[in-house]
């Protein structure tokens, strides 16, 4: 490409031949006002506000900077008296159509227009065409267009009806410089509000995500709806975005595996008595936690669905846990996070806080002290499982409130307590696919939480050597316990790796080649998949490294070809004879 020399406002500069003047000026930091220009769209030159004075030799021309290609030797003036005069005129014409649009009024004030000569019109649209162009060129939906000609020209959808081509992306409203396109039905937006907070299609899943990199949500990304857009790809300087990428499976050879698959939050929708999903001010623990987050949708403020801070909040303990209908176990963390919530509510809003509990389980270091601190903060504790949450008032104090019905077991009375907001201290439950994972890895999994090899002596090991567990996937626990367990699992894995050689179980089983008939009964019995069928020799072979010596195969072998070392049939028979020595003789 040819390089040319030109002057802008007396500054000499170089640029590629036929670069639009606006782009060159921008690089030099010279501001030229624009209305119909957008960096991601082709220049259009329709609003004329970017008019500049161009001198070629002795010839003077007034041109639009956004689409005028610079050539060698030209001289550009962006703020000369003539330019200012022309722009004033353009603005006055704009005002005769759109006299009350903030962006035009602001520009008019810059150019010293107090009262436009041609009056003020009441239109809002300046017909810049940004919306039409973004809809067809970027989004690729082609829902918007220009209709009619001359003074009756308007931007609209075909036949002025709701367009079936519109994908509700909101791009038109986003680019509109005058704000005359508004999104009326927020629910229709692609960027539908996820639980408590809007999310753009390109986002970092959460603040602490590892790797801390954005992902594209296929559900809401415009590209996956229309095949167009790809703005993110255009603006990404390092060219890291690839829309053709799909999920793929990588295989790794590893020496140890640590399972830290965590938990699933209990979904209280199955408990209609608490009205979750029915009343907007009934939240789960994790939703309330998100609301409290300084980087969350409300910026950490505690707000009700209709806006405004609550005057009273109920915290219902043991939702989904310690409940015969759902999970019998105690989720351990709920009591303490409920207390944290109570403290935050007191601190942020000063609202009355009621805790409905079965037992307060403040088991950890400093936890009991925290509970006592809350008692001093005048948080109310009502001992009794909340029976129901409803919005049905029985007297004037309950109108417009959520009423929690509870048996206060300390005073032996059924109480109705009206509150503004209800937080359900939801329990932890195992991941839905935990059992599949356990089966894949040959570890045991009682009620969905992975079982450790020994509750006291091998708390992070599993039945399969080299597989360790940490965190809530092993059982409900709080963060300190999880970190402790994770450190233990990491060091166990490290120990295994550092040894270089591993110790294997000595008491394994072995197959007597000469007796094995190759019936393969043992093959499917082995829950650790340690037995393989040798097609060539037509016998089963036990892998010494995988075998743990449980002896199930030895007990099942119809031809007694398998011997379980240290627990042979002969040894056990002798033991039986031994323990029955007195009756045998």
């Amino acid at each position: 490409m040819k390089t040319i020399k030109l002057k802008i406002n007396g500054i000499e500069t170089e640029a590629e031949d036929r670069t639009p003047i606006l782009a060159i000026a921008e690089k030099l930091g010279i501001r030229i006002p624009t209305l119909c220009h957008h960096p991601i769209l082709e220049p259009y030159g329709v609003c004329r506000i970017c008019t500049v004075e161009v001198r070629v030799g002795r010839r003077i021309r007034m041109v639009t900077a956004c689409n005028y290609p610079a050539t060698n030797g030209i001289e550009v003036l962006t703020d000369s008296e003539r330019v200012r005069r022309d722009r004033r005129m353009i603005l006055e014409w704009f005002m005769s159509r759109c006299g009350h649009v903030p962006v035009i009024e602001k520009l008019a004030a810059e150019y010293g227009i107090t009262e436009p000569r041609f009056g003020r019109g009441d239109e809002e649209c300046i017909l810049c065409g940004l919306c039409v162009r973004v809809c067809s060129d970027v989004v690729g939906a082609h829902a918007l267009g220009f209709f009619n000609r001359g003074t009756t020209r308007v931007v609209s959808t075909a036949y002025d009806e709701t367009s079936p081509k519109c994908i509700s992306c909101g791009a038109c409203a986003y680019v509109c410089p005058t704000g005359c396109i508004k999104i009326e039905d927020d629910e229709m937006l692609i960027r539908k509000e996820l639980p408590l907070g809007p999310l753009t299609p390109v986002h970092i899943p959460f603040m602490q995500a590892i790797p801390h990199k954005p992902v594209i949500d296929r559900e809401s990304c415009i590209h996956f709806k229309t095949g167009d857009c790809k703005i993110c790809e255009k603006v990404c300087e390092v060219k890291a975005i690839d829309h053709t990428q799909t999920d793929h499976v990588d295989e790794f050879d590893v020496g140890a595996v640590i399972l830290a698959t965590g938990f699933k939050d209990f979904d209280p929708s199955c408990m209609p008595e608490y009205g979750y999903g029915k009343y907007k001010n009934v939240l789960t623990g994790i939703e309330f936690e998100r609301m409290n987050s300084a980087s969350g949708p409300t910026g950490g403020r505690i707000l009700m669905a209709g806006g405004g801070e609550p005057k009273s909040v109920a915290i219902v303990h043991c939702v989904g846990s310690r409940d015969e209908r759902h999970h019998k176990y105690c989720s351990r963390v709920c009591c303490m996070y409920a207390l944290k919530f109570a403290h935050l509510i007191k601190e942020k809003t000063g609202a009355e806080v009621y805790n409905f509990y079965i037992d307060m389980r403040c088991f950890g270091k400093g936890y009991e002290e925290f509970y006592h601190r809350l008692l001093e903060e005048e948080v109310r504790f009502v001992r009794g499982r909340a029976a129901s949450v409803s919005d049905f008032p029985l007297n004037h104090t309950e109108v417009g409130k959520l009423v929690v019905r509870v048996e206060d077991t300390l005073i032996g009375q059924v109480r109705r307590i009206p509150v503004d907001m209800v937080v359900l201290a939801t329990g932890l439950e195992p991941q839905a696919d935990a059992k599949d994972l356990a089966r894949t890895l040959h570890i045991s999994c009682g009620d969905g939480f992975f079982a450790e090899r020994h509750p006291k002596l091998a708390p992070v090991s599993t039945a399969t050597e080299g597989i360790f567990i940490a965190g809530v996937c092993q059982g409900p626990k709080d963060i300190p316990d999880t970190v402790a367990q994770a450190s233990a699992a990491a060091s166990q894995a490290q120990t295994l790796i550092c040894m270089g050689e591993i110790e294997i179980e000595a008491a394994t089983a072995f197959v007597n080649d000469e007796i094995c008939s190759g019936c393969r009964i043992c093959n499917t019995l082995c829950s650790l998949s340690a037995i393989r069928y040798d097609e060539e020799k037509k016998i089963s072979v036990i892998n010494d490294v995988l075998c743990k010596g449980c002896g199930t195969c030895a007990a099942a072998c119809p031809s007694a070809a398998i011997t379980a070392r240290h627990f042979t049939d002969q040894q056990i028979f002798s033991e039986i004879e031994g323990v029955l020595y007195d009756v045998r003789t």
């Binding site: 040959h442 570890i443 045991s444 999994c445 009682g446 009620d447 079982a451 090899r453 020994h454 509750p455 039945a463 008491a507 019995l525 829950s527 650790l528 743990k548 010596g549 449980c550 002896g551 199930t552 030895a554 007990a555 099942a556 379980a564 627990f567 049939d569 056990i572 028979f573 033991e575 039986i576 004879e577 323990v579 029955l580 007195d582 009756v583 045998r584």
Partner: protein, 146 residues
């Protein structure tokens, strides 16, 4: 002298054996009639072990393993369950009252339960009286072939 049944217990190493151990350290009181043999897993228990015990004169046999889902070897106890169900059906054919044989789940933390299980089977076998299996076999062996 009152009849004191002799019962052979075959216990899995991880749950029931440890549970029985716990019963001891926890000073749980239970009859001393069960004589324990340790195996690594209840899945190791070949039905012939049970028959051998009866043949050698046991009045009862108790096989104990981990609770379903808690097996150290993932599912050895399920395999034991399958075998012992079948064995249970066959015992009557051998002339052994099914009440003399039991499969129980006792976890490492269930010392109390171990005590209860032992008390139960001991009482049941005591009611049934001495097993005739060994005597019958002996008598048969003694009879010269016709």
């Amino acid at each position: 002298m009152t009849f004191e049944p002799k019962i052979v217990g075959i216990l899995c190493n991880w749950c029931s054996y440890t549970g029985a151990d716990l019963a001891g350290t926890a000073r749980v009181k239970y009859p001393p009639n069960v004589r324990v043999i340790r195996v690594m897993c209840s899945g190791r228990v070949d039905p012939t072990f049970v028959l051998k015990a009866f043949a050698d004169g046991a009045d009862g046999v108790l096989v104990a393993g981990c609770h379903p889902g808690d097996c150290h070897y993932i599912e050895g106890n399920y395999k034991a369950l399958r075998r012992m169900r079948l064995l249970h059906k066959m015992l009557a054919d051998y002339g052994i009252e099914p009440g003399r044989f039991r499969l129980e789940w006792v976890s490492a933390s269930e010392g109390e339960r171990w005590g209860k299980v032992v008390t139960e089977i001991t009482e049941e076998v005591r009611k049934l009286g001495p097993a005739k299996f060994r005597q019958a076999r002996k008598a048969k062996a003694a009879t010269p072939a016709a």
